[in-house]
Structures are given as structure tokens and as C-alpha cells.
């Protein structure tokens, strides 16, 4: 049974200078226990999708399309019922863990307050919090629970927010750029923690990242975003081994292990999108049609899809 199904999601931000089309016609679905990676450059609209699912977009955002979660449509759910899902059923590993932890609250209480909110006694809640700290490798948990967030390193804060996201065994965990701004060592640890979650919890993980190594390592399926659209989606092994969209190919060629070949040009402004394919101006396979016709997402026979007029056969 499908856990999450996003259908034709559009998110727009009206600004003084025009409308920003942050995500356009995004559709995908996730099965229970599946790990789906949303990959793309900064500004490709991947974080916006995660925020739309857990409904934490700013009030100015204009949302259309449907998000079905476990049979309920989330975008039109009453606020109270949506809020009841947050933390318990859908949880978030936020971008920028340093800014996401209340500087005045001790690390243990950052977790424990969730249990207290649900009616636990303070001491029991703190004990449960310490167990979670151990689970993400923050030891000695007694000392760390007593400290404040500013006393932790960036990677430790990342693990702390991760432990908060798994505190209530949510069915969907949205991890928003979990390795952004971390050094190599902390990235490795984060990847191990996330892999551990994958093993232990039965949750689905929506991994939003620009880090292709992390995606390759953790994901069952991959969706590649460009200028707010999904331009290729499919099983991770297939997307990494046989990328069909020229942009995906370029991304993979740009990975250090593949020779670090950079992609020329810039992605188009989300305020002034071209009529045809968004990638046309940077594409080496561009044809006349690419400049005039906006390509649709073509399903292929291998449970994936590609948004290209001239996809590589792979």
C-alpha cells in the first residue's frame, strides 16, 4: 500500500518582482519502508517539497495539487489534524541543525519535551531522551543531555535533531539536507546514523539532498529535480548506472569519483522560466523542439520516468 503520494504539486511564492515557481507539477509516491532521494542543486525546489508535505511553508506560499498520506489529503487537512500528525506520524530532520535547536534548552530536554507534551513524567521523559542520544551515538549521554546545543559540534547537533525526528517512530521521516555544511567525518557519521534508522525503524525516509554519495548509499529510488521539476525518477541503481536525462548524466559526471567534470551555465531563474525545456540552454543534445515544447514526464518500462524529448537509451 502506498504511504505517500504527491500528485501534481505546485508551489509558488508571489514576490514584489514576480512569482517564484519553486516547484512545478511534482508527482511521486513512496511505499512504506522505502527510501526516496530528492536530489538537485541548491534552488532546484527540493526543500520546498519536504516543507509542503509537513506543511511548514511560509504563509505567503501558494500551493496547488494533492498530497495523499495514508489516505488523507494533507494540503486541505484542518490545521489541528495536521498538527497532530507532526512529530508523531510525519517528522522532520531540519536543515541547519544549529538554528533549529533552542539555544536556551538543554540537549536532553530538546528531546524530552516531546514526551512531556504527550503526558510523560519529566524524569521518565529524560531517561527516554538519553536512550535516543545513545541510539544516534551521542555518548556519554548523561553529560550531553545536560549540556546546551552551543556546546556540541555541527555533526553532533545534526545527530541530535535526527534523534528528535525518530523519537516517536514516525512513519515518514523527511530529512532536509542532513549533510549540508558538515565536514567529511561528520557526513560519514550522519550517513551511518541514517542507514541505522533505515535498518531499525520501519519508517519511510524522504532524503532531500545535493549530496549524491549520500543518496547513492541510502536510497532505494531517486528523483532528480531541476528548476522545480522532477526531470528523472527511477530506482537508484538504474539512475546512477544508466542516467537517461542529460542533466542527470552531467550531475553524475560531476561527482569527484567520475572525474569532476563541471556543467557549464546556470539554471534558469524560477521567476522567468523558458517556454520549452528548462534545461535546453545547457543541454548538448538540444533540438529545435526543446526550445518550444515543454517535455512531459515520460514513463518508461522500468518503473521510472524521464522528462526529455531526446532521452539517452541508457
Amino acid at each position: 500500500m502506498t504511504l505517500l503520494s504527491v500528485e501534481g504539486l505546485n508551489v509558488r511564492f508571489p514576490t514584489g518582482d514576480g512569482t517564484v515557481h519553486a516547484s512545478r507539477d511534482v508527482s511521486f509516491s513512496m511505499e512504506p519502508g522505502e527510501v526516496l532521494g530528492l536530489v538537485g542543486e541548491t534552488g532546484s525546489g527540493k526543500s520546498v517539497i519536504g516543507q509542503a508535505i509537513i506543511r511548514l511553508l511560509p504563509a505567503s506560499a501558494k500551493i496547488s495539487g494533492d498530497i495523499f498520506f495514508d489516505g488523507q489529503e494533507l494540503t486541505r487537512l484542518p490545521d489541528q489534524r495536521m498538527h497532530a500528525l507532526r512529530g508523531r506520524t510525519i517528522s522532520l530532520v531540519p536543515q541547519n541543525p544549529s538554528g533549529s535547536l533552542d539555544p536556551l534548552v538543554r540537549n536532553g530536554m530538546q528531546i524530552a519535551e516531546i514526551f512531556i507534551e504527550r503526558g510523560e513524567k519529566k524524569q521518565a521523559a529524560l531517561d527516554a531522551a538519553k536512550n535516543l542520544l545513545v541510539a544516534v551515538g551521542l555518548i556519554p549521554s548523561d553529560r550531553i543531555a545536560r549540556e546546551y546545543p552551543h556546546e556540541l559540534s555541527g555533526g553532533m547537533r545534526q545527530r541530535l535533531t535526527t534523534s528528535i525526528a525518530i523519537a516517536e517512530h514516525s512513519r515518514l521521516i523527511i530529512a532536509d539536507e542532513p549533510t549540508k555544511g558538515l565536514d567529511y567525518h561528520a557526513r560519514e557519521t550522519t550517513a551511518r546514523v541514517l542507514a541505522g534508522i533505515r535498518e531499525r525503524e520501519q519508517a519511510s525516509l524522504l532524503l532531500i539532498t545535493h549530496d549524491l554519495y549520500l543518496a547513492e548509499r541510502l536510497c532505494d529510488r531517486i528523483a532528480v529535480l531541476y528548476a522545480g521539476e522532477i526531470i528523472e525518477i527511477g530506482p537508484a541503481s538504474q539512475v546512477f548506472r544508466n542516467p537517461r536525462h542529460p542533466y542527470t548524466q552531467a550531475l553524475i559526471r560531476a561527482m569527484p569519483k567520475n572525474g569532476l567534470v563541471p556543467l557549464e551555465g546556470q539554471s534558469p531563474s524560477l521567476m522567468a522560466l523558458p517556454m520549452g525545456c528548462s534545461f535546453a540552454s545547457r543541454c548538448s543534445f538540444m533540438s529545435d523542439r526543446c526550445c518550444t515544447d515543454h517535455p512531459g514526464l515520460i514513463q518508461d518500462d522500468r518503473e521510472g520516468g524521464v522528462r526529455c524529448h531526446n532521452p539517452c537509451s541508457g
Partner: protein, 315 residues
């Protein structure tokens, strides 16, 4: 911690000393401190001529023949050694120290009562205003703060007297000693700082509510009440605490005018009376006392700040 405290106390003493030099030099350099003026003001009357004998006596009593720096040293060592603030030019039998000790309690009572009003009104209203941003209540509060900052406090004091004392006859106009005497001056004095504190709390609250840890608290599934009180308010009040010290200083300055309207026997009244009677020792001492009070309160607030914000470490 001890090192930090020592450093702060050292700075406090230096600032008080510098302020006392400034006050002493500035005020004694002004014509008005000559033996002749003092004698005219207090002993013989403005119209009469002063005999040489009187001049010598006055000059000796106040060390006026000494150079300015020597006068300052004498005065300062008197304060430090014996708590003696010198002799008044006007109250011939009462030393300045006694005048000050009589006046300081009323001023503290008035300023602290006002401070309580500022905190009790300013913080809740500021929080309310921020949580209900752009609601009718918020708009009313914002307009009220903008308008009340524009009214001079002495005018507000007189209007309060007009309404509550002269027209309704609920409260006494002047006097000191009962709580009823305190109501009008404390209210008039609190008006400006309250308005300012409301605005600061509101801005700080809105800023805090936009922080990522608030968004994450929502994502954690915490209740609105929990988020506002345990996360937003605590963080928002930290910058406010430091400013409360500064506003206590404004309150002290405000007492100068308010005490004169309500005939409140505090430092402010002593200072203004001293200014009008050219009683330079009293004026200088009042300034030093007000500055000291203000600096002590700010030091206290600063230490408090270090207690409530775990990110700050004593250096």
C-alpha cells in the same frame, strides 16, 4: 567568574570617578561658586553688600581658595573616608550626606514602583501584541505606544492630577508616605518606559517567532502554548532584560521632573532645588549618587543576563 566580576567592578568604580570629575569640574568651573555668590544667596541676601570678613569665612568653610583639583581631592576623600559629601551652600546645619540619605529612599520607592509597572504591563502587552500580530488588539497597542511616547511625562502627570485628584477626588495631589500618594507619580513616570518596553518585547518576540527553532518546534508536534511560553518568550526576553537596566536609568532621570510636580522628597527634587539655589555641592553629589545607582543596576542586570543565557561565558 570572580575575575569577570572584579573587572566589572573596576570599570564601575572608574566610571563613577570619571563622572564625578566631570560633574565637579563642569559645575565648579561655572560662575556661581564664588564666595560672594554663596554669601549673597544664603547669608546676607542678594541685594546687600558682603563684608570681607564674611567672604573669608565662607571661603575657608568651603576651601574655595584651593585650586580646583585640590577641592576635588578633599571632597572625594571625604566621601570615601567618612561618607561625607561636604557642606551645603544653603542648608547650613545639614551636611549633604544627610540630605542625600533622607532623599534616596523616596526616589528608590518611586523608581522601583514604576519599574514594576513597566514590567507588569510592558512584557505581557508586548507578548500579546506579537502573538496576535496585525489583530485589532495589536493595532490598538501599537498606536497607543506610538502616541504615548510623544507626550511629555510632566504633562501626563498634570492630566492625571486634573482627572483623578481635582475632578474625581480619588487620589491626593501631593504628599509622601501612603500608597495612595505613590499611584499618580509612579504611573506618570512609568508611561514612557512602558511604551518603549512594549515595542521592544513585541519586536523581539516577532524576531524570535521567525527563528528556525520555532519552526522545528512546530515540526516536533509541540502545542502552540508550549512553543510560545517555553521557547519564544524565554528567548525573546533575553535582549529585553539588558534594556530594562537602561530604562531604569531613564526612570531615575524622569524622577527629576516628576518629583517636582508631586513634591516628592527624593533626589530629583533635591537636585532641582539645589540647581535653583546654586547649591553646587548638593548638585554634584546628587549627580554622583544618581550615576552610581544607575551603574549598579546595570551591573546587576548584566550579571543576571549571564545567568539566564547559557551561551554567555564569563571572560
Amino acid at each position: 567568574m570572580h575575575y569577570y566580576l572584579a573587572k566589572r567592578l573596576g570599570f564601575l568604580v572608574l566610571t563613577i570617578l570619571a563622572a564625578s570629575v566631570l560633574a565637579f569640574v563642569l559645575l565648579h568651573a561655572v560662575p556661581g561658586g564664588s564666595a560672594e555668590t554663596i554669601a549673597r544667596h544664603t547669608l546676607v541676601g542678594l541685594e546687600d553688600s558682603v563684608s570681607d570678613e564674611v567672604l573669608t569665612q565662607v571661603s575657608q568653610q568651603y576651601n574655595l581658595a584651593d585650586p580646583l583639583w585640590k577641592q576635588y581631592i578633599t571632597w572625594l576623600s571625604g566621601i570615601v573616608m567618612r561618607g561625607d559629601f561636604g557642606a551645603s551652600f544653603v542648608y547650613l546645619d545639614t551636611p549633604v550626606a544627610s540630605l542625600l540619605s533622607l532623599a534616596i529612599i523616596p526616589t528608590l520607592v518611586l523608581a522601583c514602583t514604576s519599574m514594576l509597572i513597566v514590567i507588569a504591563l510592558g512584557i505581557p502587552l508586548g507578548i500579546y501584541s506579537a502573538i496576535h500580530e496585525n489583530s485589532p488588539g495589536d493595532l490598538v497597542i501599537r498606536c497607543a505606544t506610538v502616541v504615548s511616547i510623544a507626550f511629555p511625562s510632566f504633562w501626563v502627570a498634570l492630566m492625571l492630577i486634573l482627572v483623578f485628584s481635582l475632578t474625581l477626588d480619588w487620589l491626593p495631589v501631593t504628599g509622601y508616605g501612603t500608597p495612595a500618594n505613590l499611584v499618580l507619580p509612579a504611573t506618570a513616570l512609568a508611561l514612557h518606559p512602558t511604551a518603549v518596553v512594549i515595542r521592544i518585547v513585541r519586536t523581539s518576540m516577532l524576531d524570535t517567532l521567525g527563528q528556525q527553532y520555532i519552526t522545528f518546534a512546530i515540526a516536533k508536534g509541540l502545542s502552540f502554548k508550549n512553543i510560545v511560553w517555553n521557547h519564544a518568550v524565554r528567548n525573546a526576553l533575553i535582549p529585553v532584560v539588558t534594556l530594562l537596566g537602561v530604562y531604569f536609568g531613564h526612570l531615575l532621570a524622569g524622577t527629576v521632573i516628576i518629583e517636582n510636580i508631586f513634591a516628592w522628597p527624593g533626589i530629583g527634587k533635591l537636585l532641582v532645588d539645589g540647581v535653583f539655589s546654586h547649591d553646587i555641592p548638593v548638585v554634584t553629589s546628587c549627580i554622583v549618587v544618581i550615576v552610581t545607582l544607575f551603574l549598579l543596576v546595570n551591573l546587576g542586570v548584566d550579571l543576571l543576563y549571564h545567568v539566564i543565557d547559557p551561551r554567555i561565558r564569563y571572560e
